[in-house]
């Protein structure tokens, strides 16, 4: 692949992770356990959709085929998506929703924190903007992990299960493939493995405070960010996300 194609793939991943996580959170509108949390989730979802727009617009420019953020979001098929398995996971109960948001936001905090120094200036600027928001997401979700983990017997049990269920998908985030390696070699993206210690420290500190057990690292699936083997959930997410443009192609406001 040419550098430009690799960069397109890489930026697409950043955009798709933000888009699908944002879409997942949007599904909770009208379903949150209380009004205050409803507002919080909607605001966090909006941050991620905003980040997705910035990344996908840039991806479209890199590709140079005239596709804009909307076309990339609404007209690509499942296999052309490049999002991590983590963001595809269902909302589940509130513990799962918060555990997923926490594990992913803590990853994004490290990733964007690195990208601020990327040799790609546009990525650095987007990351600088997004980093401020993501720090807040880590705080909000981290507080819920602690509150539920160190809460009642029932909330503890549920949060422990959520962390265990989702731990499986943390491996892919830190497993570099040839796209990650090429970007790291160019100074555009980080060495993913090098981000892990800081992420681990943060996550473990929260789990400790939440009186939760850190799951063991076993075999972990990959295949989301390279589109090789998505979860069965992604198609369902897209059927809702893309419904309007599928039913009425090219429809505009």
């Amino acid at each position: 692949m040419e550098t430009r194609e690799v960069l397109f793939e890489y930026v697409l991943r950043l955009g798709d992770n933000a888009l699908i996580l944002g879409q997942r959170l949007c599904e909770l509108l009208g379903w949150a356990p209380e009004l205050e949390e409803e507002m919080a989730l909607a605001n966090i979802a909006l941050d991620y959709i905003g980040q997705a727009r910035m990344f996908l617009s840039y991806a479209g420019e890199i590709e140079g085929k005239g596709r804009d953020e909307d076309q990339l979001a609404y007209t690509r098929d499942v296999l052309d998506f490049r999002c991590a398995l983590m963001v595809q996971q269902p909302n589940g109960d509130f513990a799962h929703t918060m555990a997923r948001l926490f594990l992913m936001s803590a990853f994004n905090e490290q990733l964007y924190g690195w990208l601020v120094r990327s040799k790609d200036q546009r990525l650095a600027e987007i990351a600088e903007k997004a980093l401020k928001e993501v720090r807040y997401h880590v705080r909000h979700s981290g507080e819920w992990v602690i509150r539920l983990g160190d809460g009642t017997e029932e909330s503890h049990r549920r949060m422990q299960r959520a962390i265990e269920d989702l731990w499986l998908y943390t491996g892919e985030l830190f497993t570099p493939d040839e796209v990650d390696q090429a970007m790291a070699a160019e100074g555009i993206g980080p060495d993913l493995a090098a981000l892990k210690p800081a992420w681990q420290q943060k996550v473990e500190a929260v789990l400790r405070e939440a009186t939760l057990e850190r799951p063991a690292d076993g075999w972990m699936p990959t295949g989301g960010k390279d589109g090789r083997m998505h979860s069965e959930h992604l198609g369902h997410i897209l059927s809702e996300l893309q419904f309007l443009q599928r039913a009425y192609p090219g429809l505009r406001w």
Partner: protein, 167 residues
């Protein structure tokens, strides 16, 4: 980067911008909020208005650009360009003194200095009630009607109010 020298045309453009309201907090102009970063001339001498979005997903961003465009056109500055800059990212520190005064007048407490950003279970900042000035206040909800505002209430005068969060 353009040099900020006295330039009557740019001064007039700045004056026009002080009349463009923020769509979500109409008491404040886009200048008060620090959304307008600078008004300069590019190499060709064309006036450029540099603006910065507040939050990535702020739905008002596109509308703000549209309103600025409309105001510039109406004032005879159709040739002026609008440029969006992301870096450095917008911060509430850029809300002007005038903007903070207007926020308070509108019943919205301006961002408190020294609010801790990021620590888990951080203590809430000391926020003065925009109506009676009392600092005996409490946060009701981290989120309010827009991404930038939280809901608070005053224990002295018992009124609810909005607080413009630090970013």
């Amino acid at each position: 980067m353009g040099v900020e020298v006295r330039d009557p045309e740019l001064e007039r453009i700045r004056a026009v911008l002080t009349q463009v309201q923020d769509p979500e907090i109409p008491q404040l102009s886009v200048v008060d909020l620090g959304i307008v970063r600078e008004v300069v001339r590019d190499e060709a001498g064309v006036p450029v208005v540099r603006i910065t979005p507040t939050y990535s997903g702020c739905p008002a961003t596109a509308l703000i650009e549209f309103e600025i465009r409309r105001a510039l056109d109406a004032a005879g500055f159709a040739e002026a360009r609008i440029e969006t800059v992301l870096s450095p990212p917008w911060t509430t520190d850029w809300i002007t003194e005038e903007g903070r005064r207007k926020l308070k007048a509108a019943g919205i407490a301006p961002p408190a200095p020294g609010e801790r950003r990021g620590a888990l279970f951080a203590r809430d900042p000391e926020v003065a009630c925009p109506r009676c000035g009392s600092t005996d206040t409490a946060k009701v909800s981290e989120f309010g009607s827009t991404p930038c505002k939280a809901l608070w209430r005053c224990r002295s005068c018992r009124e609810p109010f909005e607080y413009f969060k630090c970013l």
